[in-house]
């Protein structure tokens, strides 16, 4: 409204002081009634009790780059355990002179993730880029074509953790989609097979699957044939994850209106064309955020492979802790791992939330 409109000149008053500024914020957010005020004071007091000693332990009294002996004499945290054992914790049995390979593979993965995190790069190229990236990563890890071969038994530490979850996801997705389609199928036998599979797998804990892969599975194979341990665990993770993906994808399929199927039918597309060209592209886009959620759980769940003696990053850390030199510093090591996992998972989960919002508003 312009000023020359005199008939009703609007005077804008400042709100009462208690409504705005620091005071307003405090009143609004911390002390708006007696209960909240009490809550605020109690919380601040307990933070005061906990935080300063923690900071003292973790930062003031701590050692970061010393040997084990020096650590025995201090009260604070001995973070030295990490740098001193970093090689084994991160790369485990991977030959030392080839260590650059898993490192490069992880950097490549990071680059891929950063690249595809931007929605503008979601185009036809994304799929071939990832396929190529995964192949290069596999090649770097395994070797061949000029690089010395490193068998999977030596894959350990962080690369193993990442590989198990990443390939777990990559392998589980097609299976999960098939299961979801099967569960939606009109053919009763197919439908019940898929339902049984999904409900069975979702009904048991992952470690029972891992036990199965590590204790039972060898007995299933004909004599003389054995499958690599890592691969078996990977298969168990895939089988397990697929059931969860199937349920997520089913949600996506259900969100596609009947009209889309009918339009596809009336164009004369057959079942597989309709699925491939019309239904799945839409359904899979809807389920990206929950899929990231599954990726996060898969990533966290790989830590359970400790229980079947695979050397993921948790196990390599534990091995370090069984070394008498470093035995006493488990809190530091566990905290370090916690931070490591937290960074990965938090990044993924906040990204998925962002994505959810973006997909929700835009088409």
């Amino acid at each position: 409204m312009t000023d020359n409109n005199t008939s009703t000149s609007r005077e804008y008053l400042k709100p009462p002081v208690t409504e705005v500024g620091v005071l307003g914020w405090l009143r609004e957010n911390l002390f708006n009634n007696w209960f909240n005020s009490l809550l605020t004071i109690l919380t601040i007091y307990s933070l005061y009790l906990v935080v300063p000693p923690l900071i003292k332990w973790a930062f003031v009294d701590s050692l970061w780059l010393s040997d084990a002996a020096a650590c025995r004499d201090i009260d604070g945290a001995c973070w030295s355990i990490i740098p001193a054992n970093a090689r084994f914790i991160f790369f485990g049995f991977f030959p030392e002179d080839q260590q650059w390979r898993p490192l490069t593979a992880m950097i490549l993965l990071l680059a891929l993730v950063l690249y595809s995190q931007n929605r503008r790069s979601w185009n036809r190229l994304l799929f071939p880029i990832w396929t190529a990236g995964l192949f290069v990563m596999g090649w770097l890890m395994h070797g061949g074509l000029g690089l010395p071969v490193v068998e999977t038994a030596k894959w350990s530490g962080l690369p193993l953790t990442l590989m198990l979850s990443l390939f777990g996801m990559v392998g589980a997705y097609p299976l999960g989609v098939l299961l979801a389609l099967g569960r939606q199928s009109r053919l009763p036998a197919i439908k019940s097979l898929c339902v049984v599979y999904i409900e069975l797998i979702r009904g048991v804990p992952l470690i029972s699957m891992l036990f199965m892969s590590s204790i039972m599975f060898p007995l299933f194979l004909p004599e003389g044939i054995s499958i690599d341990k890592v691969l078996r665990a990977q298969v168990a993770i895939i089988i397990f994850t697929a059931a969860y993906i199937a349920e997520v994808v089913r949600g996506g399929l259900q969100a596609i209106t009947k009209g889309q199927y009918e339009a596809a039918d009336s164009l004369g597309l057959n079942y597989s064309q309709a699925m491939r060209l019309i239904i799945l592209p839409q359904a899979l886009k809807i389920v990206i955020p929950p899929s990231v959620g599954i990726l996060i759980s898969a990533f966290k769940d790989t830590s359970l492979v400790v229980i079947i003696a695979l050397y993921d990053v948790l196990k390599t850390t534990k091995v370090t802790l069984s070394n008498p030199k470093w035995m006493g510093f488990s809190s530091e090591a566990y905290l370090f791992l916690a931070v490591l996992y937290f960074i990965f998972c938090y990044a993924m989960s906040s990204y998925s939330r962002k994505l959810e919002k973006a997909l929700h508003t835009g088409r």
Partner: protein, 397 residues
């Protein structure tokens, strides 16, 4: 209009070759898939048979009747090394149930509190709740269990230096040990009195509802019900001469004798599972409450309902429908995750089954048992949930 349903199809499909008839194609496809699945199953089965035979590994569940020969740290039922494997496994299963049951209750309580705190207008409280949720959700539960267990055994003193915060209560690295009333004939009647009080409560609620329907008056059912539950057992207790003898734990030899003990393994598992799961529950509760639109609350307020009534009559009934299904799946997750007990020495089903596998060498049976037990828990829960969801679904056009 004739009303013959699905009348004889005179659309003759007999002339169509089977591969062009969608129905027949479907049947054939299904048979093929079934055969494939059965085939794979058969191959695996026969391989396994052959392997077992070749290596002369014992099979079957007859081992269940053999003496187990190992001890279990804590058990709800009486168990000793002289009992059978079957009983050992039962003790393990009951331990799983125990930790799941208590865990589920605590998780729900904590999850609701944190979820509400997340929505609090108090900035610090809501941020803290948010931080709690993020941290708990994004760290593997196994790692958390290791952490809590190490806190338990490292932070608390040995039994001889046990903390004694209240008379009859001791806290040390053997766990929390507390006095319980000594066994007395009054206890059984007191239990019955409690049952009676609960029944009375229910009757009271029905009566109160009827009275409200008739006269409009509102009766404080919850308060009087709780009162009944305290009063009736107390009366029985007085009637038996108010026995006050307590079974007080005393330090004898290595450990406390008497009283009741909560072990560190159990506590660590419980705390780990509860904290981890309650973060997820908190998010579910928050989403559930937020799913009730602001307009619902405003409408309820504008017909004059009090805040408590708004919550009870309008918000909760709607929020619960959104909350309950994912909540159940979290409860199931908690039960499944309790299998990680094996890592910190709590004798749950998996841990007992593991020892059994190890002693008998019968891996197939052992793993099959593990799966069967968890499947049983899961499937019975899902059946209940499906029934519940059907019952509660909001009617739409």
């Amino acid at each position: 209009m004739s009303n013959e349903p699905k009348a004889t199809p005179d659309i003759t499909s007999s002339t169509v070759p089977f591969w062009r008839n969608p129905e027949k194609r479907g049947v054939i496809f299904q048979i093929a898939v079934l055969l494939l699945v059965l085939g794979i199953g058969y191959v695996l089965f026969s391989n396994t048979q052959a392997n077992l035979k070749r290596q002369s590994i014992a099979t079957g569940f007859s081992f269940l009747h053999n003496e187990a020969g190992f001890e279990i740290g804590e058990s709800v039922i009486d168990y000793s090394a002289a009992d059978t494997y079957a009983r050992a496994l039962l003790a393990g299963a009951l331990n799983t149930l125990k930790v799941s049951f208590i865990g589920i209750i605590l998780t729900t309580l904590l999850g609701v509190v944190v979820g509400i705190a997340r929505l609090s207008h108090n900035w610090i409280v809501s941020r803290l709740a948010g931080g709690f949720i993020e941290v708990m959700q994004n760290i593997p539960v196994l790692l958390q269990l290791f952490f809590w267990y190490s806190i338990f055994y490292e932070a608390f003193p040995a039994p001889r230096q046990a903390l004694n915060p209240l008379p009859g209560v001791f806290l040390c690295n053997r766990g929390l040990i507390f006095a319980v009333p000594e066994a007395h004939p009054a206890h059984t009647p007191m239990l019955w009195a409690l049952v009676a009080a609960v029944i009375l409560w229910w009757l009271l609620a029905r009566w109160a509802r009827k009275r409200q329907d008739l006269t409009g008056q509102i009766f404080p059912v919850v308060r009087s019900g709780l009162g009944l539950c305290l009063l009736l057992p107390a009366l029985v207790w007085l009637a038996y001469g108010a026995p006050t003898a307590m079974d007080i734990p005393v330090l004898r030899g290595f450990n406390f004798r008497g009283g009741m003990a909560v072990t560190p393994e159990f506590s660590a598992l419980l705390i780990g599972l509860v904290l981890y799961t309650s973060a997820f529950v908190a998010e579910i509760v928050r989403a559930g409450i937020q799913s009730v639109s602001r307009g619902q609350i405003e409408a309820a307020m504008s017909i004059g309902l009090r805040p408590g009534q708004v919550l009870h009559l309008v918000v909760l009934p709607q929020a619960l429908r959104v909350i309950i299904p994912p909540l159940t799946s979290q409860m199931l997750n908690l039960t499944k995750n309790s299998s990680l007990a094996i890592a910190i020495g709590f004798a749950d089903f998996v841990s007992v089954a593991n020892t059994t596998i190890n002693q008998t060498g019968q891996a197939i049976e052992g793993v099959a048992l593990i799966m069967a037990v968890y499947l049983f828990f899961s499937l019975s829960t899902s059946f209940f949930m499906n029934w519940y969801n059907k019952k509660m679904a909001i009617v739409e056009r």
